[in-house]
Symmetry: C2
Subunit: 333 residues, 2 copies
């Protein structure tokens, strides 16, 4: 109870402008503290103001540099920025990808920029909820823009991108041709394409190809921008496209539609996680389920028949739902 109170106090302090409260709240959300629900409830009325920009693309495309240069430009325009860098889970890349983030260090002294790296390693689809929580905290803390950078390697990272108001897909001339991009579903993800490292061979051809495909979808307006992020080339144009996209989104109601969709997904996902957590707690304790599990473990009963037995047993389901405890309404699963 004490912990929840102090989390609420932390939230109050953050909303009152205390810059020290934000990182502590983020840690609570990342640690899936029991206080998360209370924090989210408290900050909910203060969210929805920030504009959330997802930046994704294959490893080595230069996403971090694009984010870095966009941040510089936004700061020059007086916008406060939050950056969430999500790294994919892999025992083979380890923490190596985080090395890129070193380039961001010039911003660490600027109170107008808040940077947080998060790793998806070891998560089972539960992470998007955590990333969403961190984005909401940044939003409620008053950031004007939130940049969410992720390597689009796994489903988890793509889910994260789907929490953005707009998605920039960063590719390079080496990423393959436009037909490959279409097959890979990039046209479904991208609101804006940035062809980075555009001084390399094939950049113009790739742009022409992407635009030819985009021309076949007259309803949508997806811009293709050539950038050389490390030299700052094309970043102003990319920013202008972002602004144009946002204005159009606000005028035609697309932004609100997108956010409504996101809220629906978030709620149903949360509800499912809670039900799952309730189930796992129960599975740990219930003697009847344990006995059935032992039969499966011993190979005496196949898992499908065991499942049918459990879910066909109203008495078991009643027992499951009757269990009470703080885990049901508070903890994340």
């Amino acid at each position: 109870m004490k912990r929840r109170q102090s989390a609420t106090q932390l939230a109050e302090r953050m909303l009152a402008g205390d810059s020290l409260a934000l990182p502590r709240l983020i840690s609570l959300v990342e640690g899936e503290s029991a206080a998360v629900a209370e924090i989210m409830r408290r900050i909910a009325p203060h969210t929805g103001r920030a504009y959330c920009v997802g930046v994704t693309g294959p490893p080595g495309a230069g996403k971090s540099t694009v984010v870095d240069k966009l941040t510089v430009l936004m700061r020059q325009r007086g916008l406060s920025v939050g950056i969430v860098a999500v790294d994919p889970s892999s025992p083979f890349t380890g923490g190596a990808l985080l090395g890129d983030r070193i380039r961001m260090q010039q911003h660490y002294l600027d109170p107008g920029v808040f940077i947080r790296s998060m790793a998806t390693r070891g998560s089972h689809g539960g992470l998007p909820g955590t990333v969403q929580g961190v984005i909401k905290l940044l939003d409620a803390s008053g950031r004007d823009v939130i940049l969410v950078e992720t390597v689009g390697v796994g489903q988890t990272e793509l889910d994260v991108v789907n929490t953005a108001d707009v998605v920039i897909v960063v590719v390079t001339p080496e990423s393959g041709d436009a037909v490959q991009a279409m097959k890979a579903g990039l046209f479904e993800i991208a609101d804006i394409f940035a062809i980075n490292k555009a001084d390399r061979e094939g950049a113009q051809r790739m742009k022409a190809e992407l635009e030819a495909i985009l021309a076949m979808k007259p309803g949508e307006s997806i811009a293709v921008v050539l950038t050389e992020a490390h030299r700052g080339v094309g970043i102003e144009e990319l920013y202008q496209e972002l602004e144009r996209y946002r204005r159009a989104q606000e005028e035609n109601g697309e932004l609100e539609r997108r956010r409504r969709h996101r809220r629906r997904e978030e709620f149903l996902e949360l509800l499912q996680r809670r039900i799952r957590r309730r189930f796992l707690d129960f599975a740990d304790k219930d003697g009847q389920l344990k006995a059935l599990t032992e039969q499966v473990v011993a190979g005496e009963l196949d898992p499908y028949s065991a499942c049918a037995r459990v879910l066909g047993d109203r008495h078991w389901l009643d027992k499951w739902l009757s269990q009470e405890g703080p885990a049901l309404s508070e903890a994340e699963g």
Copy 2:
């Protein structure tokens, strides 16, 4: 009903040795057909005979070549082989990784080798169940060995590896040093290390480093084998290590312990998927939940408060669990 009967008939035909039935059953499992439960129930008594070898490692380590050469060697020893190649989900790699599989085509004419490629794209943690199903079909069809190859990029692929009896981690001298491997958790995954492309610089040093770390864990015996798979070098030794590992596993009961653990995980995972499916079906239909969702979508209620309201409402939970239908006991979620 007709569909289920014919699936059962297909299963009977496969168990009777009809080689045309297997690919059709695999398609049913991959398509998450309603008949999956019936198929699995039918083949359950015929599983547990094949030895399942997981092969994982970073992209470009040469896993496909290792699998290819191991297959040749196993065929020479008269063993029948099933190969399941799982590709990671990424809109940026698309189907490119499958290109490696071309090298496997020499086996397509050999009835003693069955090869199936599966993509994890678009799955939300549900895939391991599908891969497990395919492995079981190969097992019940009488394969002696099943090789499961996957790029260890995401959690989904790692889950797949965890369904194996033994895991070979393929690295290259360029993969980094042994300390990095330790940090990345490779020592937790690997039962056998293969340092492939061992003609490159640093292979011997990497082997010495890995062995030095392994020496600190006297309870376990993890071999480190140098291979040059494209030339067939070291494959015989790798095979001998597999055989040695298997014998030890069978003698000390570790194989059975591992399989028991897997059966437990599989059952609980399946039960959770079913509960999730039941929930989603219900959420689609229930007026009360829809009304609450609309409040969340409109931003009038935060998702956490809405969750607490649903899960605190015994009447709602009763309604949820009282719904009936074939989806409850049959379909995959």
